[in-house]
Amino acid sequence: MSDQRTDERAQPPCPRTRSLIDRLVAERVTADDRSHASTCPSCGPLLLRAIRFDDELRRTAEGMVAERMPYGVLDPALAPRLAADLPTVRRAAPGLASLFAAIAIVVVAMTVALAPGSLGGGTHPPASQQVAGPLFRPSADIFRSVRAKDYSCIPGHSLPTSGPSAQPGEREGGICLTPKEIENANASIIPIENGDGQVVQVTIKGSLWGTETLTSRAELATVMGSLTTESIADPGRAADAGAFVQRALPELRVLPAGDNVQILFGDLRVSLLRYPGGSYILVLGPASKL
């Protein structure tokens, strides 16, 4: 075998090989080069090797990675914050303080609702205020929309009827997962229905895997923002809430206890939490259900 290889390599070199290498490196290979390489035993393998190069380089470099970067290595928390103008309540971890904060939000929301115009020219357009009718689109409509984007959906499960997380009478309307082509990220949407089949809450989960890049986080923000928009019945509020999620998600910090943000759009509550491991959970629900 080695003799055979020696024989192959002992063939007289082609006088065009050197210039072919120059053109391959400069990415200026001509049709004549290709035609010559198809019959030349010296230049043919070189051309094939050059075609394989980028894949080989990626595989080689991946093989040299001995440790993933910690989540947040490109985080805005390591650079000047951009979120200062967000109309949000923020806390480092869920706890008692969050309950008081949430109550405060409800009180402010009720004040806004009872005295329309008192905060005229406020943060949100009129579409974000009280809207008659259901908060969310029916599960079937949500599923139809996301299936059109190649999401895969499976039936949901009943929710616990006892214990600390009991939600008697409520069930998951289904679970839809993002298509595989989203780079380094995936997301799922779970509408929660009451006994009448009406959607009363929507949970959207997102995860990053592999290297967390700004691109993958921005993509996840876009996906979760779009799922938010698909879930909400009122188009104006849907657009506002979707845009908020898209903007707020990349700004959540990496903290050992997680980070989160909440906002009310009239009687719709949007809660977005970042877990330390790089996953996100977004809960859309009525402001009254805290």
Binding site: P13, T17, R18, I21, L24, V25, A26, S42, P45, L46, R49, A50, F53, E56, L57, R58, T60, A61, E62, G63, M64, V65, A66, E67, M69, P70, Y71, G72, V73, L74, D75, A77, L78, A79, P80, A92, N184, G210, T211, T213, L214, T215, R253, V254, L255, P256, A257
Partner: protein, 170 residues
């Protein structure tokens, strides 16, 4: 004045961060990150540099909870710059009769041997871009150089590796 680690706002001193224990717990991870970027031989130096830099700049750490990511980012930054010290050291060693590093012999070389033989700066860019999957803009941000400079290093290194890889075959 070189661009420096992520950082942040000017604070003269902060007492709410226990750098030593945070560093001790992050150290094994930092070693592996540095080894990925500059190789095992240089990793210890990078991590040592990381500690010295972190100690000097702890006042700039804006979010104490993000200290591990901050340390990792400093380690990446130092990995990219370790060559400078290596070059200075080489200059100092010129007069000393020590066995010198010689480039790997040409012929049937595997690509990983060529990447490992790259100077630290080029190797760090290759591993960050192709191994970790960061975009060139992100690589530039991590190592503290301009996007244009990162693009130049990346394309020059790619051309250099491709040529060596093809010549090894020819």
């Amino acid at each position: 004045m070189e661009a420096i680690e992520p950082g942040l706002v000017q604070v003269t001193r902060r007492s709410d961060v226990d750098l030593d224990s945070a560093f001790a717990s992050a150290r094994p991870r930092l070693i592996r990150i540095a080894a990925s970027l500059v190789g095992v031989d240089g990793a210890e130096d990078v991590v040592q540099d990381t500690y010295i830099t972190a100690r000097a700049r702890i006042g700039q750490l804006r979010d104490p909870a993000a200290i591990e990511a901050w340390l990792a980012r400093i380690a990446v930054h130092r990995s990219f710059r370790i060559k400078r010290r290596g070059k200075r050291l080489q200059e100092l060693l010129q007069a000393v009769p020590l066995p010198r590093w010689t480039p790997p012999p040409v012929g049937r070389l595997e690509l990983h041997e060529l990447v490992e033989a790259l100077p630290a700066r080029e190797r760090a860019v290759v591993v960050l871009q192709h191994g970790y999957g960061y975009s060139l803009a992100e690589v530039a941000e991590l190592v503290g150089i301009s996007h244009a400079n990162a693009r130049k290093i990346s394309s020059r290194t790619r051309a250099r590796l491709l040529r060596a890889w093809l010549e090894a075959e020819a």
